[in-house]
Amino acid sequence: MNSTRRDFLKLAAIAALGVSAGRLGLLGDGPAQAATLPDVADYASGIKAGHWGMAVFSTQFTPELIAVCRAACHREHNVPDIPGDKDVKWFWGASFAEAFPGEQGKYLSDDVKNRVFPLLCNHCEAPMCVQVCPTQATFQRPDGIVMMDYHRCIGCRYCMAGCPFGARSFNFQDPRPFIKDFNPHYPTRTRGVVEKCDFCAERLAVGKPPVCVEASGGALVFGDLSDANSAVRKALRDHFAIRRNPAAGTSPSVYYIL
């Protein structure tokens, strides 16, 4: 066939766009909510674990992918979008210096210096927030998830002071006017409570993975850290990973593969 160089380049560009369409968000934000109510039978297929954990393939994360995962999480859980420093976030991106301040990276490699890391609650094995909560509104489940009970939270923000990772956000005002994509199947929060990622405990109960894991296309590996054959343990066996702020002594369950 008689194809010019120009035609070939056009074809290659369109092919590249098609391959990366999911990552660039051109396919929309994905089928995050099935919009059907969970049935009693769904809860029979809930997944259990000894200790839930996550491995983050940080090399696969771009600011766009972080935005996709963040949007999926925030939409599923009615997280408000408030401009300024009263922002509420369950999943967000930060630079190496913000994610790993203890590393004090001097003369970092170019790709790590420019990389954005996805951050979320680390669901620590020895959580500081649980130790200091005066009402046990935040508590550790037997499967390792550090859960929030918004009914009991009195808004003292002691947990925010205790968290070494800045993973918790306070509702300074009623969040409802700031919720843009609304999910009626999950409650909102009210003014005066602290909120954070809950590892999608309500989805695990019906056998689904967390929405950020689903949206990440494999860049987030979620599983049972106590099961040596789980996907997350395999990822940690094959790749070197570090955790945020190990000196705080909380033993996070989220591992970052650099």
Binding site: L37, P38, D39, V40, Y43, G46, N78, F139, R141, D143, M147, D149, Y150, H151, P175, R176, P177, I179, F182, P184, H185, P187, T188, R189, T190, A201, A205
Partner: protein, 132 residues
């Protein structure tokens, strides 16, 4: 008793004032017009059980779901339901046509609605207000 001629009538007047609302309200019944769900015949429990104990049942659901991680409720007849306020309860009942009718008359303001949504089909975060 000193000053008995003031104290005894004063006490009687005080008791009368204290019991006046009960005396005036003798025999009064509450007029509550509830909109029952069209497509469901029975609630999770019998009507008299729900009328007496729906608050305790909802509190129990809250503890079981949030703190114990259990999601399935088995009613007195053995039928199973998912323990969710918006999806299970308000999947049949409407808040403005059912819940608010009694709550308004009894001057009860449960704080559930600060967070929980009024309907599984609700479109925006701020629930639509009922017509006055």
């Amino acid at each position: 008793m000193y000053h008995a001629k003031y104290i005894i009538p004063g006490l009687c007047l005080f008791l009368l004032l204290v019991f006046l609302p009960s005396l005036l309200g003798r025999g009064r019944t509450f007029q509550v017009a509830l909109e029952l769900p069209k497509d469901a015949k029975a609630c999770i429990e019998d009507t008299n059980v729900m009328r007496d104990r729906h608050m305790q049942i909802l509190n129990d659901w809250r503890t079981q779901v949030v703190r114990e991680g259990k999601h399935v409720y088995v009613n007195a007849k053995g039928k199973k339901y998912v323990m969710r306020l918006t999806d299970t309860c308000l999947g049949c009942h409407t808040k403005t046509g059912f819940c608010d009718r009694c709550h308004a008359v009894m001057d009860v303001n449960p704080t559930c609605w600060d967070c929980h949504n009024s309907s599984p089909e609700q479109q925006t975060a701020i629930p639509p207000r009922a017509a006055p």
